[in-house]
Symmetry: C2
Subunit: 100 residues, 2 copies
Amino acid sequence: MREYRHPQITEVQLESVLYALSDPIRLSIVRQLAREGEASCAALENGRPKSSVSHHFRVLREAGIIKTRNDGTSRINELRDNELAEVFPGLLPAILAVRS
Amino acid sequence: MREYRHPQITEVQLESVLYALSDPIRLSIVRQLAREGEASCAALENGRPKSSVSHHFRVLREAGIIKTRNDGTSRINELRDNELAEVFPGLLPAILAVRS
DNA sequence: TCTATAGTTCGATATAATTCGAACAATAGC
DNA sequence: GCTATTGTTCGAATTATATCGAACTATAGA
């Protein structure tokens, strides 16, 4: 499967990041990635249809919040937390500090 | 005109705050309030139709981000930044620190 | 090659949000 | 009371998002 397009961190929009994280499902995905470091899409499905989950990953990816790489038939996702800290310092930590 | 309903700060949802701030118009309103302390709705209209601006103020108000009080025929808006800092410490500062 | 696994993409439907004009409400000042 | 000023609310049109099944792609392993 082809590689994904990830935006350069410098072209990531604050509005897009806030929008992506305003969805409960996407926020829970991000929280889980923060806890576990990285995870496949399947590990974050939680019984939802794959197509829905795939959509949410795409939103997170295009917003610049996660990075997805291929590993066999799986996609491994991880937060771009260090990069995000460069452009939006303190933002992700402030969000992740909120109790779910 | 009757008073507005403002949510208790403890019942403010992170998702709602992020969503409210993901709109460029609302974000610019919040930035202006952060700079100027408080302002009427008219001062933040920037040529847009009043009904649209009123809508955005309502979203910000119901998300728990601003407080609106009556002053004659005007409504004076201010950020609930101190309260927000109690429940989402560092969030608003991180957002406001981003260059517009 | 055949099959299972892991996701993506498409398409259709449903739901929600935005936008803005028009009508309305409340206050101030004359 | 009349008028101007400020904003709200309503309603309708447009646009955006979410959801999910079905078809598809790509890889791994037997």
